[in-house]
Symmetry: C2
Subunit: 340 residues, 2 copies
């Protein structure tokens, strides 16, 4: 099998001129149907169909989707990234993946690189370029768990998720409710978790506290910060039943370890709820009650939005894209041993 079949090869094979072959790829509408079919047949016989890079010239379809995902090691986002990569069989898109440290210039460089390869769509998982700038790239873009005012988005219903957690802790008769989270900007969807926790505690007149800490991937630093929070809770609320809702399962696991090592009983002294229902929830020392993000639904809605837009793009390159879609996926609570 010859690796690269050239226009000259096709011309020789079909007895047409290279100019005609060039027109087939560059202005197919200028050829008669007969000639087009002749070339098409030759391409098949020459096994030319295997060169999709060439095919892109004729139909503009690269079937590439770019993904920019956070450079987090083993985390919910990695889980989501895997789920998206697994859609090939259903949607047929190939994914070119970049991981970013959450730096705007870095992300822009990656988008330029992706555009140079004529990606047909872009998925921004977390990430930080403002959506008003993303919009200007004028390609189908879906943001997941990030600010997405000017692009399409698919997010978990964070408000519902936090409500499920907060109400469960209240129903289980916790005296004091605690929420532990990173500081989150207002326009990021997950900030709704903080709002829901606060609103419900206030409405139901439940004693509560929110601890904000910048948690990074350094486990010693994280453990120290959580231990300090534990000491503050113990000082202030000794002998009260505490319900703790943490912003992700990994944090919740560390907190469980601290409690067990300090002879606190779960779920008698403390009840714990995480978020994501990532594998970390089941693997925890005490299996963790968690808010399950519906990763499958997030994945398929993301691909469905992109597919719809990409098809419209193919039909008429001059039309503006339709109005952005914002899909909200309801999470569920998965109860395990860390709550009653």
């Amino acid at each position: 099998m010859k690796k690269n079949i050239t226009y000259s090869d096709i011309a020789k094979y079909t007895n047409l001129s290279t100019a005609t072959i060039s027109r087939y790829f560059n202005s197919p509408e200028s050829l008669s149907e007969e000639t087009s079919l002749l070339i098409e047949k030759a391409l098949k016989e020459l096994n030319y169909k295997k060169n999709k890079v060439a095919k892109i010239f004729s139909n503009g379809k690269t079937e590439f989707i770019g993904i920019i995902a956070p450079k987090l090691e083993l985390h919910f986002y990695t889980y989501l990234l895997n789920s998206i990569l697994n859609t090939y069989t259903r949607y047929g898109y190939k994914f070119i993946v970049f991981t970013s440290n959450g730096d705007i210039d870095e992300e822009k460089e990656y988008i330029d690189e992706l555009l140079a390869y004529q990606i047909e769509g872009l998925i921004m998982i977390s990430s930080c370029i403002p959506s008003i700038q993303l919009k200007d790239y004028n390609i189908p873009i879906v943001g997941i768990e990030r600010e997405a005012k000017y692009i399409s988005s698919v997010d978990t219903n964070n408000y519902l998720g936090a409500s499920l957690a907060t109400n469960t802790l209240i129903e289980n008769n916790c005296d004091v409710l605690i929420h532990i989270n990173n500081p989150v900007a207002d326009e990021v969807p997950s900030s709704d978790r903080i709002k829901a926790f606060e609103n419900i505690c206030r409405d139901k007149n439940i004693e509560h506290m929110i601890f904000y800490e910048i948690f990074n991937s350094d486990i010693n630093d994280t453990t120290e910060k959580l231990f300090n929070i534990f000491k503050k809770i113990e000082n202030k609320y000794h002998n009260k039943k505490i319900g703790v809702f943490l912003s992700n399962d990994t944090l919740a696991n560390y907190f469980i370890k601290i409690l067990v090592k300090n002879n606190k009983s779960i779920p008698d002294d403390y009840e714990i709820i995480g978020f994501d229902d990532s594998p970390a929830a089941i693997e925890a020392f005490i299996p963790l009650t968690s808010i399950r993000q519906d990763v499958k639904a997030i994945t398929h809605n993301t691909l469905a939005i992109l597919t719809e837009r990409i098809k419209m793009n193919h039909k008429n390159r001059k039309t503006d894209l339709p109005l952005d879609k914002h899909i909200i996926i309801d999470p569920t609570i998965i109860k395990r041993d860390s709550t009653l």
Copy 2:
């Protein structure tokens, strides 16, 4: 900025024929240097350089590397995949990623798809197509932790890793040594872990047992299998000091949970050593002693082999690739609380 610049556009701009433009991309050697330079200049002025898909025609460099990785959710391989994706800044390759269930036909379909996009190199993480078949694709390929007789490979020194674990358990005066693993085919690098464990125990005349189980991602099934192993150990070696070396950190964590819940003291009754030193090792209920795979070295050696071969390919498309390289990276033991 016009999105797609056609051969006709370039012809008009340069006052050359489309056939000449076609020759520039398909048989550049047939043009005079003057004409080539003229077209090159025009491409720049038309901002054509941004279309890398087109550029591929002229120089054959897609800068794409394909990756086929196992469809495991949060696991050492995911960690490795992330590390490879992070090399963009240093090596400049873009990665098209497929995840596979470990089915030969599925993997072949993905390779065909990747070849259609003219990838310049391929990384096979784990995966199952025999290397004698991979070799026939005649592109630079590096296998990681898989059979790689007929392709290049980068692997951890599994024999050394298992020796470090086994010798540590012996030095710490364990009476009985246990190894828990999946059944592993002889030609897969990680089978060396079993060989090293067995050889050292035999040479030093240490009582030992190997348990083979097919562990999958179902945590209940895994826990049940590990609990049965625990019961067998307890029945046979009650009141002896047990050293357990497990094939990965996730399994080791589950085993630690079983021990703690059955009131066994670690590291007094049992010492535990995992493999990989993935984040799971630090996150374990009792921080886990583990054999650290040098992910950075694995990543950079993989990219270095591919880069070297890709460059040779560019220089002379007719030369066969040089002899395969097989790089072995030494691991280290990271001691934590699960051993003395």
